[in-house]
């Protein structure tokens, strides 16, 4: 992704913002500046800044070739899956499911990552939920850990 792509994305987002804000209006207006002006101003600034980057790019996007794309994709997927499972599967199990691929992406063996995940899942659950009263979902392990 080079500066040109970033700039083009900013122009697009700016245009999208302006389009979405095109008919924001107060039902009863009692001030000269309504809900539309500030977003429109920002949309214009965003598009102008983006255009600048398109015309005068300062960095190239060659970093993408130096990134371990496989590990990156793995980690991103793990974060999304974690967010998705957090509530349904419960904190402890979701943490184990997340810690195995993430731990392996960071150089652990699957045994280490699994042990780490189980340890983190249990210790953090007990620490936060039981000790500190920060309620976490127990999900599928509700029959052992209690809670929901």
């Amino acid at each position: 992704m080079s500066d040109r792509i970033l700039g083009a994305a900013c122009v697009l987002v700016g245009a999208g913002m302006a389009w979405a804000a095109r008919d924001y209006a107060a039902p009863i207006s009692y001030e000269p500046v309504g809900p539309k002006a500030f977003p429109m101003l920002l949309a214009a600034l965003l598009a102008a800044g983006g255009l600048w980057l398109v015309l005068k790019p300062s960095a190239d996007g060659s970093w993408i070739r130096r990134v371990p794309l496989g590990a990156l994709g793995f980690a991103v997927l793990a974060v999304f899956v974690y967010a998705f499972l957090f509530q349904t599967l419960g904190f402890t199990l979701a943490t184990v499911v997340m810690a195995v691929p993430v731990g392996m992406a960071f150089g652990g063996s699957w045994k280490q990552a699994l042990a780490g995940g189980v340890g983190l899942g249990l210790l953090l659950y007990l620490g936060f939920d039981k000790l500190l009263d920060v309620v976490l979902p127990s999900g599928a392990l509700a029959f052992i850990l209690g809670g929901r």
Partner: protein, 499 residues
Amino acid sequence: METIEFLMSGFGIALTPTNLMMAAIGALVGTIVGMLPGLGPINGVAILMPLAFALKLPPETALILLASVYLGCEFGGRISSILLNVPGDAGAIMTALDGYPMAKKGMGGVALSISAWSSFVGSILAASGFVLFAPILARWALAFGPAEYFALMCFAFACLTGLMGDQPMKAALAAVIGLALATVGLDSNSGVYRFTGGDVHLSDGIQFIVVVIGLFSISEILLMLEQHHAVGGIIRETGRALFNLKEMAQTWWTTLRSALVGFVVGVLPGAGATIASAMTYTMEKQIAGDKGNFGEGDIRGVAAPEAANNASAIGSFVPMLTLGVPGSGTTAVMMGALALYNITPGPALFTQNAGLVWSLIASLFIASVILLVINIPLVGMFTRLLQTPNWLLVPGILAVSAVGVYSVHATTFDLMMMAVFGVVGYFLRKQGVPMAPLILGFVLGDMMEQNLRRALSITDGEVGILFESPISISLWVLSVLMIVVPPLLRLRKRRRRVV
């Protein structure tokens, strides 16, 4: 004299057992977070902020905890700079330049202790500066109307973009993105829902914690995938643990000068510890001239950035508390924490919530002492923690981040948004877009729009009011200078180098 009384009552609150314990916990956690490469004060404060709220800590206790974490991070960053040659956080980048060579010569212990000492001196001097100047600034700021506030916020963004270095346009874009994110949700003046796409989760706006944790913690984890610093590279032979009087005398003026510069840079809205430490390091290098051996293990090269980054951290509280405009990314996050408690920082805080302000100031003194006390003897324990393998550390950070996000609203939606912001933040950071202006924009967005609309309501839409009062005119002039002067200076420097 009034100030002394307020400060004493502040110490009264800060020295209660709970608050004292929170300062100690914050100092310890902060040192560890600051030391771990990749995690800086923003991450520490962002992760602890929702937890402090979920634990139902009273606002002053929560703020004391977060402030100690911030200060602790500025102390902790130096440990990995010196022993690993990997800066623990951005404010400690300069410390590695001379700290690591010192450690290689077997002077690691001296580098660690002298940097702890100058950090301490920097903190105490800056906290004293805070006591002297903050009440004056707060009183002066009471004269600010909406037009002045709008100009002030523009000045904050100008500082950030001007001082951000080689890519000011990206800093400006980041600020605009932050401001735009802040417009999502219900517009309280008109009752119009903006950019929500009809989603009920967004009607209240994008959650601050989700943005901060996504942009800083999650994207940081993705960035860490590329770091392969060998854990074995740590220097264990640290030699003599304490500096002697000669070394203290050698660094004394450096420390004082750097603390002063650090404090001033910290007070400037937007400019933070990274800039302060870089500035003072360069300054001391020039003052030392040929007599110094900067870059090869000069003890002053360790003292200068450490005094400066602590002083600037404390300095950045001054605009946040007196004007409601945070002086650094981390204090911007803290302002978000105060918003959770329905407290809006600004000049009125000094009169309406004096206990909160003064107990925070008192706790900065207390945390500095705690940090000095724990940092010299416990350095061995910290270095052992530095060897925590990433396959355990990273899932741990991710889990605690998710707990933080979940603890506020307990929805899967927020967790998914966190992941989205993590990926977006990763790409923006890879492309050189700084995150500090973005977060500042997000925190100030609502206030900026409200003040603009309020100002224009006074004149029924006449824009002239923004440039009317002497205060706003001077702020506009300063903003222009901030944007124009640094590129000119860089240009001159480059020309000189060519000649």
